[in-house]
Subunit: 240 residues, 2 copies
Amino acid sequence: MTAYDPGAHPSVFVTVDLAIFTIRDGALSLLMVERGEEPFRGCLALPGGFVEPEEDIEQAAWRELAEETGVERFSGHLEQLRSYGAPRRDPRHRIVSVAHVAFAPNLPEPHAGSDAATALWWTVDEVAALPSSSVAFDHATIIADALERVRSKIEYTTLATQFVPEPFTLAELRRVYAAVWGEAPDLGNFRRKVLGIEGFVVATEESGAAASGGGPRPTLYRRGWATAVQPPMLRPRPAS
Amino acid sequence: MTAYDPGAHPSVFVTVDLAIFTIRDGALSLLMVERGEEPFRGCLALPGGFVEPEEDIEQAAWRELAEETGVERFSGHLEQLRSYGAPRRDPRHRIVSVAHVAFAPNLPEPHAGSDAATALWWTVDEVAALPSSSVAFDHATIIADALERVRSKIEYTTLATQFVPEPFTLAELRRVYAAVWGEAPDLGNFRRKVLGIEGFVVATEESGAAASGGGPRPTLYRRGWATAVQPPMLRPRPAS
DNA sequence: GCAAAAGTGTTCTATGTACACCCATGT
DNA sequence: ACATGGGTGTACATAGAACACTTTTGC
């Protein structure tokens, strides 16, 4: 098979699916939509849609991200995860889905705008507890892969800062790691690690508000120019 | 856009492309085919082909791997890399390519069987030195991404063993790292690292042949059951 | 004997781990 | 005053870096 001669080969539909993560009330959460039509009516699915004719896959993902979240100036991070293309993953047509992962700070509650009226934030624990019959298509697999991507990616990149709105305190950033990993890294070591990496965060002159029960005014930081964390931030005991 | 309603959406062709790496004469090498037809006639391209109607993407990749290498019992490793889908990456049709990476031990010289008659091994240095006009489509980008995947993957997995035929000596395994990274890890530290990870390699009772100039008979090993290397094997000074 | 390569040991240093502790502030 | 949480210090353990060195064999 010398490549790229379509011949009698069938064409398929290509979609993008999005696993959009954010942190709400200290819990890692995922945007999901309730399907209003068959197949899988009433099931939860990842937001997504078709790639348009003149559109790059990445463009399509950004467009869907804006449509589904209702945010036009999205400040977070978006990257491709991988593609899923089992022949009968959609019972109607052959559809290859290019899944993406997005890291978002404080997105608004999904509104009734566009057609994402049924979009809602679910914590990853809630999603994991769902019966497999209530998750559409192979999206449970995609979610599991996306979760692992997020958990590992904040180990060796600075992308954790994409989960907090600027400016932020180190305690807030640490709570990001706690939410994503399920366990908080050691306080002192975390501070040394983050501040020891040139350009991970940059301090501002301001100080934040003290906590409700009192305490010092924490220093506020902004995202720095660094992208890699090396050596990586290690998750607490990944069970040896 | 509520997902998965094709409506008037156009369908596209989906292919798999393969970056098949092996080590030949101590150099990391890549299988490429010379295109015999337009577009990009005479240019080098990654082997690949269309995904068949009833075929999973991964199945298609395995099938193409067998066809292009002429090996039916492939002993190495194959994984998805990512998808490429710019609208005009192929001038004739809209084609989304799901690229894969394969790690192979000692594959035979590509034969004239099937239609891979023009397939040849190129060292990655040779490929990097090619003018961009002689590499078809966006395959130079795919190759760069695939190379980085291989280089990083042998840091934190045991996949380096997939590049050597069993049984192998630790010196041979070390030469894999040297070939992929361009620099050899320290001899003593390398041995301690590999042998210190339970199940990375398992010793056999046999001893290999001494080197041409003489020397002790090295112990022979087989692949173990471990898949992760943690903490990872670090590449020598990645330029701070 | 000598060269070549396998295999071992040793010291130094960087980094992660696990804490204890101090300090500033709101209630 | 005291609880709360930001911020710092320190002793220990682990593991990588950079060597030197010994051993086994073919020529």
